[in-house]
Amino acid sequence: MKCLAEEERLNNMSVDEHIKLPEGSIERQTTTLNLGPTHPATHGVFQNILELDGERIVSAEQTVGYIHRAFEKIAERRPLYQITPLTDRLNYCSAPINNMGWHLTCEKLLGIQTPKRVDYLRIIIMELARIADHLICNSIVGVDTGAYTGFLYVMQYRELIYEIWEEVCGSRLTTNIGRIGGFERNFNDTSFRKLEKFLDEYPRVLREFENMFTRNRIFMERTIGVGPISGERALNYGFTGPNLRAAGVDYDVRVHTPYSSYEDIEFTIPIGSTGDCYDRFLVRNQEMWQSLNIIQQAYRKVQEFKGKDAEVFHADVPEYYLPEKKDVYTKMEALIWHFKIIMGETDIPPGEVYLSVEGGNGELGFYLISDGGRTPYRLHFRRPCFVYYQAYEELTKGSMLSDAIVTMSSLNLIAGEMDG
């Protein structure tokens, strides 16, 4: 409704309402362009109302909320394990990271300690999700600068990641992977074989993708110097994730507050210098290499567990983790726990907890207040896209229209996460 009313207002604007431009500009007043919610360049539904002087942008006003789904209100109605499918739909390009972050928050609230094997398996799944997210972002930056081939080529390898997730949890995109305390089933041999196939084939593909773009004259001219931001301004705007690292600040939640045994894995954090689109592209590419490194280390650590240890896939918390069916049918305690969990009789302890994980876009935070009942009293998602989209006007002021498009896609704005 807002954008239609805006259009009417823009059509009926008098000369005074447009921004008057100073002497020496191309025109006397600005043109208003509605880069509306349905546009091939806005990947997701958000709107930018740009005031243009010729082709230079004078100001940009953003409208979000076109896919507001009221996650926080829905979450007040659901017990903890039913909120996981909601978190899937936040940053849907890398849904497992959101799931794992939510499980970690619940485990912090409930005081559950997961065994090491579970942590390493979680690391593998989360880093695969990070690769999937960065692949989409980088290939779409390529598409927006005109190179469609990279996108098609790389989507094939994203299918390999989908196959691994499908083997583990049954679903490709909105995975609902894992449970509070671990995973729903042990990883079978097929999933490890698929993982090895991915680790064999993907490095060559990533190298080809890099070769196509990194020293490509056209790509460099389109992205170097476009949408730069300094480290201090980025911090003030609340940037996190690859966008902040491209601006030169090495803040990564996996290193600052390690979760899920990330402290056992060695990896480096790539940082850029100017924070422009080219730096963001390169940082994401480097992060994909680092993610491959992390997956290989974690996989080696998983393979070190032999015998009985290799059967461990969840923490021993019968109050929150559904017991096995054969125990439910034969043992009394298991039957009681099963009943209590399914009927929603287990209460969560009162308290408030804030936990953040390194999502594909930055610090994804979960602030959970529980009053001792079945459902959270208040759940708030600290969504990185929402926080850094505010800076878009500062990034694009004075640049050309085509630069604005490239900036928008290089920021990796996912509408589901932005509105939530």
Binding site: L4, G36, G65, Y66, H68, R69, A70, M155, R172
Partner: protein, 196 residues
């Protein structure tokens, strides 16, 4: 006890002769150098194999659509090679993802800008009926604002399901009469949505 398996129990033999399916020609009268059939059938055949979709991708289903357009589950082999983003040039409006109440008028506006004949496909549970989001801000199904031809359920639907939806749209297009858009029932349908 496991449920008895109903599908795929007798394996098919690999048959080089008959695994190639040739589409049926429409009923008509042919001779040397000509084939006469009714105009409807020819138009239906031509239209169904060259649909230009408009992907109105809002959320997660949009990513599955990207996978459908990719080379693994190629949608282009069904004639939808050129996806357009301008409603003036497209036939099929594929609404993929949750439509919030703020977005409802935008869907309607895009639908109004499309030229007849136009079809609408609701992809995903959110577009069909609101999906898992039964909240104050989500439109419970796009059929509250535009008439829908094919519903593809799933959250998100697999690419195979989206292709199945496209095939069903193709069937609809193939069998559509030339005068359907002028019929009183169609006019009544448009009236019920408030579309002139």
């Amino acid at each position: 006890m496991a449920r008895p398996v109903r599908f795929n129990i007798t394996p098919k033999e690999a048959d080089m002769q008959s695994h190639i399916m040739v589409a049926e020609a429409p009923a008509g009268h042919g001779g040397e150098g000509f084939f006469a059939t009714s105009f409807e059938k020819v138009v239906g055949l031509a239209r169904k194999n060259s649909i230009w979709p408009l992907p109105f991708a809002t959320s997660c289903c949009g990513i599955e659509f990207m996978a459908t357009m990719g080379s693994h589950y190629d949608l282009a082999r069904f004639g939808s090679e050129r996806v357009g983003f301008s409603p003036r040039q497209c036939d099929l409006l594929m609404v993929m993802g949750t439509i919030a109440k703020k977005m409802g008028p935008v869907v309607r506006q895009v639908y109004l800008q499309m030229a007849e004949p136009r079809w609408v496909m609701a992809v995903g549970a959110c577009a069909c009926s609101g999906g898992i989001f039964d909240s104050y801000s989500v439109l419970q199904g796009i059929d509250q604002v535009v008439p829908v031809d094919v519903y593809v359920p799933g959250c998100p639907p697999r690419p195979e399901a989206i292709i199945d939806g496209i095939l069903k749209v193709q069937e609809l297009i193939h069998n559509e009469g030339l005068r359907r858009r002028h019929s009183p029932q169609y006019k009544a349908l448009m009236e019920s949505y408030g579309i002139q």
